[in-house]
Amino acid sequence: MKTVFVRQERCVGCRHCEVACAIEHSLGRNLLSAIQEKKVSYPRIYVESDDAYQTFPNRCRHCDPAPCMQVCPTGALYRDEETGSVLVAYEKCIQCAVCAMACPFGIISFSQVHELDTNREVNTKCDDCIRRQREGSIPACAEACKTGALIFGDADDLIRTSRIDFTARLIGSRGAEISLPAVPENVSAYRKIMETVAGL
């Protein structure tokens, strides 16, 4: 199972993933034309922050079974068997938003799409960059991320890396190799200061 894995501690809130996502789903797939298109392409990934300025890039997890698929009354949501991605047949979407109510991550939103001739606002959730994947590229958000907060790969591999890293830290005193660098001191110092600022 391939997925975009999130390493929250690496997210710096730059929102580059949001921009890359919006460009990828625009008609022209280009920054300069995307900002002028009539039907605006909005990001399908959301970098939100808490009161202490910590950030998290939230996107569709392409669950299986997917609650959104299970509740969709028109069958507009379906699964791409090859990649496992949950996709939307825009023409079948009736804007009932039941999918959004069922989504455990709150990442479904509605907007106009250039794929339809009408101005109806339909479910424009993350499509796992299915087009890019078929072209042999990785999802735009993961490609755009310059800190490794979003990485695309086999879920088991990515989880294994984290697990080995955790184990290495646990037994660090025995000189085990740590594959993932810890958050550098200067970055932790900054985060601690901003936490104080937020708490004043």
């Binding site: 809130g13 730059c14 950030t55 800190t147 200067n186 970055v187 110092a189 900054y190 004043l200």
Partner: protein, 629 residues
């Protein structure tokens, strides 16, 4: 947010001062957008930018370095994180130094035009200061008119900007040991504009890549501001409008009047606003206001224009930088007259919710949606009258049902120029030095800088000042920090009751507050001069004195320049908001530690004002021990 209790809690969370809380509540209830709303809609803010690791200088970029060290380690050009962070800091510092120094240049130019009889309404007010400065510049004074001296002095000062003499005259005011450090390190400021231009050159791709070298030049550029541009702004403003002397006035949003035409003077430069003060005294203006149904004209200041007017003319001050929108939300402001710096570009949009007219006056600072009345020294008084007339014309449009003036003003004492402090001490710093040596006063800290919606409005300034005076540390203030403490009542002689026994005794003896208002942000130069004189009296460098600096709520690049010239002059400085340098451990280590070996001072970052006071106290005690006192 529509529950009344939640709205009140939010309003109280935003500001410390009660009148500010009241107006915050109004803006929340009425949906008037403020900086707090915009900060929230900007979340999350880009971490590359916050850490200073984003370089947007050239067209090979923009580039950003992975702060976690896994992905990109260099920009396209090959610059590493230390180079990028240091270059960005220098870039920011140059903006700040330019703001102060260009403001200074305008004041000198008006002094020159005044000397030539080409500036309407201006005159040489402090002839003694003029003569003292002329002596520093080697300009003959005997038998010459003030005007002749002023023209020579103005020319001498203008030469400091692009100077070819490789040395700033006013930097000679620094004590010899301090200057020796600058000489040894190669950071003697050579010319105000020159250092800034050289900095811009160094920032270009393929010039300076050594972060230490870049940061040393940052110090040099900042010194050109503190001991150059800012000092010139202060001195020439004193010559033209008078050197401040202690006086009483009022502060907070309650200074706005329910039945007079309210004119808010906002920005930094006193050149036009002093003329507006003069024009408002014209009996014809008052009559015109009465004709329009008002009981008169109420001028109030804001930010550093406000500080300039408060210090010299006792004009009440409505608030600091975060008050600009709150003032308009009272519904009682007929006109907000702005010159430059720290004017929110959204101010005309805020004003459009009311009858308020926003009038810009500087060719350098136009704002879409505002009315523009260009200021020229030749016609300054006439322009000032026309501006007041426009404000009066807006009065009939005021909607009395929307006027909400929150409470009564707080009284304050201001006007503590370096000269005024020295004279309050009896004409010499000896009594202050004796008190410090005896330990009744442990030392002094300059609490300066802005407001930033990331920190509760005024909380950092007020809490830090309270903590310091409790520990018998005298506080001197400028800028928004001084206004914050004014609102909190700390600029009153009675506030000495909140001070430790030693400081309280000295304040009561002299009848002064424990927190002294020294002026606007260019007037941080007054703090430098005071430190220099005390150091000279003791025969030591500024870096040896038991003093410190703090900018608890800073936001502006000007604060970076001020902090850096404080540190480069030997003053340990604590910042309440982290500068955008945390992406580079090397830059952090140099500024927080390495620089100590050069100037015997450094930077620290501590948002919690109580902990900041701990740091400052420890530094003061360290220096006292070194001085064996």
């Amino acid at each position: 947010m529509c529950d009344p209790k939640t709205m009140r809690m939010e309003a109280e969370k935003r500001s410390l001062d009660r009148t500010d809380q009241e107006m915050n509540l109004v803006t929340i209830q009425d949906g008037i957008e403020t900086a707090w709303d915009r900060l929230s809609s900007q979340q999350p803010q880009c971490g590359f930018g916050q850490l200073g690791v984003c370089c947007n200088n050239c067209a090979m970029g923009p580039c950003r370095i992975d702060p976690f060290g896994e992905k990109a380690k260099r920009g396209v050009c090959g610059a590493d994180v230390d180079t990028i962070v240091a270059r960005n800091l220098l870039d920011d510092l140059c903006v700040g130094a330019s703001a102060h120094s260009d403001h200074g240049r305008e004041v000198v130019e008006v002094m020159r035009e005044t000397a030539r009889g080409q500036a309407e309404g201006y005159r040489i007010t402090d002839g003694k200061k003029l003569q003292r400065l002329a002596a520093e510049y080697g300009i003959p004074v005997s038998g010459r008119s003030n005007e002749a001296i002023a023209e020579d002095l103005a020319n001498g000062m203008l030469e400091e900007y692009g100077c070819i003499k490789n040395h700033l005259q006013l930097s000679d005011r620094a004590p010899e040991p301090t200057r020796a450090i600058w000489e040894k390190t190669g950071i003697v400021p050579r010319g105000i504009d020159r250092e800034i231009v050289e900095a811009m050159h160094r920032i270009h791709m393929g010039v300076d890549a050594d972060y230490v070298n870049i940061l040393l030049h940052a110090m040099r550029t900042a010194l050109g501001d503190g001991w150059g541009g800012s000092m010139i702004a202060t001195e020439c403003s004193d010559i033209l409008f008078g050197t401040p002397k202690p006086l009483s006035s009022e502060v907070n949003l309650g200074t706005l009047s329910t039945d007079k035409v309210n004119v808010v003077l906002h920005g930094h430069n006193p050149l036009l606003s002093e003329m507006i003060v003069a024009a408002a005294e014209d009996p014809g203006m008052k009559q015109y206001a009465e004709k329009k149904g008002a009981k008169g004209i109420n001028l109030v200041g804001m930010c550093c224009t406000g500080n300039e007017l408060l210090m010299r003319s006792g004009v009440p001050i409505a608030g600091n930088v975060l008050d600009q929108e709150l003032a308009i939300a009272t519904g009682a402001v007929e006109a907000m007259i702005v010159d430059y710096q720290c004017i929110y570009p959204s101010i005309p949009a805020t004003a459009a919710c009311y009858h308020t007219r926003v009038i810009t006056t500087s060719r350098k600072a136009k704002i879409p949606g505002a009315e523009y009345m260009e200021f020229h020294p030749k016609t300054a008084l006439a322009t000032a009258k026309e501006i007041i007339k426009r404000a009066i014309d807006a009065y009939p449009d005021r909607d009395p049902n929307r006027v909400r003036i929150p409470g009564k003003p707080m009284k304050l004492m201001a006007g503590f120029s370096e000269e005024a402090i020295c004279s309050a001490l009896g004409g010499t710093y000896k009594p202050l030095i004796d008190a410090i040596v005896a330990g009744s006063i442990r030392g002094a800290v300059g609490v300066v800088g802005c407001n930033n919606p990331k920190i509760r409005h005024d909380y950092g300034h007020v809490t830090l000042a309270q903590e310091l005076i409790k520990r018998n540390i005298l506080v001197v203030e400028t800028g928004c920090a001084a206004i914050a403490c004014g609102k909190a009542g700390l600029l009153l002689p009675e506030a000495a009751d909140q001070a430790g026994e030693g400081l309280k005794g000295v304040c009561n003896l002299l009848g002064i507050p424990p927190v002294l208002h020294m002026g606007s942000c260019v007037d941080n130069s007054r703090i430098l001069v005071m430190a220099a004189k005390i150091a000279n009296e003791l025969g030591v460098g500024i870096g040896d004195l038991p003093i410190g600096g703090a900018a608890p709520e800073w936001y502006s690049q000007k604060a970076i320049s001020i902090g850096t010239y404080f540190v480069a002059s030997g003053v340990y400085t604590v910042l309440g908001i982290p500068p955008k340098i945390f992406g580079s451990q090397n830059v952090l280590t140099l500024l927080a530690d390495g620089v100590k070996g050069i100037t015997n001072s450094s930077f620290a970052v501590e948002p919690d004002p109580v902990k900041a006071a701990d740091l400052l106290e420890a530094e003061i005690e360290r220096k006292r021990t070194a001085l064996k006192i």
